[in-house]
Point group: C2
Chain length 346, copies 2
């Protein structure tokens, strides 16, 4: 924290006050406003001096000479870090969320989709939830359906109720009976095995009992692998994109268009969520800290959710840099806790 060395306690208080005020009003904050609304017992002139210092240190900026100040990204960064040090707790809206999760979700996809809606509506930002990667899932059931010619529909069900399906093309034409047999074989051998483990497991089995399953299993696996491998892209549930229209900073049509465009290209979003997975736990990306050019006026608040002890995916919100971090952060954390609880039960 050497970066903040030059800040005495009073300057920090004023900086926090400015950020607070700007978050609330979206207007540049003047020295008079601060001296009136917060009782520092300092005259506007004094505050002016301090604000000038803060500007020089890079925490605040000026749209033009005669306007008030607003936070730079560095200013937000400081604000957010001092917030998270406080370990925020929010009670009232959290009770509402708890109630939302007082129901049963049959499929994991429903739970996640619902969660992104909850996130967007409670925070008035855009809610995002990334689905667990397929390798992390537990094998539960597999099914092959002969469609026509050499087309086979493969349906995979994970233990947590996630369903993946894909039509694949095979070189030889199997009868439905043969396909059923193959599926039964897979289902017997891989029940409750994590997908990423199947290959290893298979090698083990072949060593033990070489001839018996060789051919059938081999074929069945070849079929199913196509489904697992094909999930190049993690699914992401996004909700409340319209919410950004309500924030005054996006009145600018051009900016807005660019943002919407960025959402169409989900891969970048996935990258950011994936990074959250690696890091684990809460992450706040402020403004251009995210790599998406079109979203340099947005902040990301993300965290991970788990099933039992293992991290499954990431969730969070995207909103204007000027979002209400003090309520959004605990809301995102709490939601992740709820999702984890639901998942662990499944």
């Amino acid at each position: 924290m050497a970066r903040y060395a030059k800040l005495d306690e009073r300057s920090m208080q004023i900086l926090r006050a400015v950020v607070n005020c700007y978050i609330a009003t979206a207007e540049p904050v003047g020295s008079r406003t601060i001296s009136r609304k917060y009782n520092f017992n300092l005259s506007p002139a004094t505050i002016r001096n301090i604000m000038a210092d803060l500007e020089e240190l890079g925490y605040l900026k000026h749209p033009h000479t005669s306007a008030g100040r607003l936070p730079t990204e560095q200013g937000y960064r400081f604000y957010v870090e001092s917030l998270t040090k406080e370990r925020l707790q929010l009670q009232q809206p959290i009770a509402g969320i708890e109630k939302c999760y007082n129901r049963r979700f049959a499929e994991i996809s429903h739970l996640l989709r619902y969660t992104s809606k909850i996130l967007s509506s409670t925070t008035h930002c855009i809610g995002v939830v990334s689905a667990p990667r397929i390798e992390d899932m537990m094998f539960k059931h597999m099914n092959f359906v002969h469609l026509r010619d050499n087309l086979v529909l493969v349906v995979f069900v994970s233990r947590s109720g996630s369903v993946q399906q894909k039509v694949i093309e095979v070189s030889e034409s199997y009868t439905q009976e043969k396909l059923d047999q193959m599926a039964r074989c897979l289902n017997e051998h891989f029940k409750d095995v994590p997908l990423f483990y199947i290959r290893t497991r298979l090698l083990d089995m072949m060593r033990q009992d070489k001839q018996l399953y060789d051919e059938l299993l081999e074929r069945a696996l070849r079929l199913s692998r196509q489904v697992f491998d094909s999930s190049e892209e993690t699914t992401v549930y996004i909700d409340g994109q319209l919410n950004i229209l309500n924030h005054p900073e996006f009145e600018d049509l051009k900016k807005m268009k660019a943002m919407f465009g960025a959402f169409e290209e989900k891969s970048q979003l996935i990258l950011i969520l994936d990074k959250c997975l690696e890091g684990g736990g809460l992450r706040v990306l402020i403004g251009s800290e995210n790599q998406i050019e079109e979203m340099k006026d947005c902040s990301f608040v993300t965290t991970t959710y788990k099933a039992g002890d293992s991290v499954m995916g990431a969730l969070g919100v995207i909103g204007p840099t000027r979002m209400e971090y003090s309520s959004v952060i605990p809301l995102v954390e709490y939601t992740a806790k709820m999702v984890s609880r639901m998942l662990s039960r499944m």
Copy 2:
């Protein structure tokens, strides 16, 4: 067509010219512009007189006294009707579409999603495609997977490669074996039967062979029915919503917000597409002819697509009232033809 009784050929030509011009420029059209760009060999003054007449008859309107004219909805209606009478044909972009469909689609849902993208990108409007209703599908394969406790995952595959899945709660807990048995029973008996026909078919069978299948089939059907009945809402594929941002009439942030909001609520959209299904064939809804308040500045161009001889669903585009009907209409019709061809092959 008594409505157009008062229009002589010349007035109609000028009306068409004004609509054309307005569609191209999005600016009110003056009499001088018409007399210059189209060679009617009439002076602006004469055209002015005719335009005044057209205004009195309700085909044109004035934003303010000293501005040019633009079409009313009645004006567009006339324009579109005289267009469709001409039986438009468009060659060049159509070749492009043909090429797009030169590939195989394993699943019907892929074909439809792709189609809505094609529609939006070729017309620069919003593409919409409604999926076939489940009752119209042919039974191909059914599968039950025991999840946990009393939860069963039901997967239904139609002959055209559409996959529906749903988790349902059952009163008694079946073993996976029992479930497999039930599924096999269903699959044997209902192969290639249209869903809406299954009930009748079942009654037939029970009459013939009362005891044999009674209990098992009954249970299996009870399970599966929940999937069929639950599809209350037709799926709709929507693409290119961002396209409307490019049309100058939606610069107004408020209008735009209202429109985006209307898209979130898909049920109204489904209503409109369903109506197209009933009517059959091409339908053009201009402005407030659609019942959605927020879309009263938009037009719908929709038609139906078929598999073989039976109508399966509707597709079309949504764009500003001021859309290029002369190219959009044939594009929509051609796309529907391509989809029908693809479907009939599946």
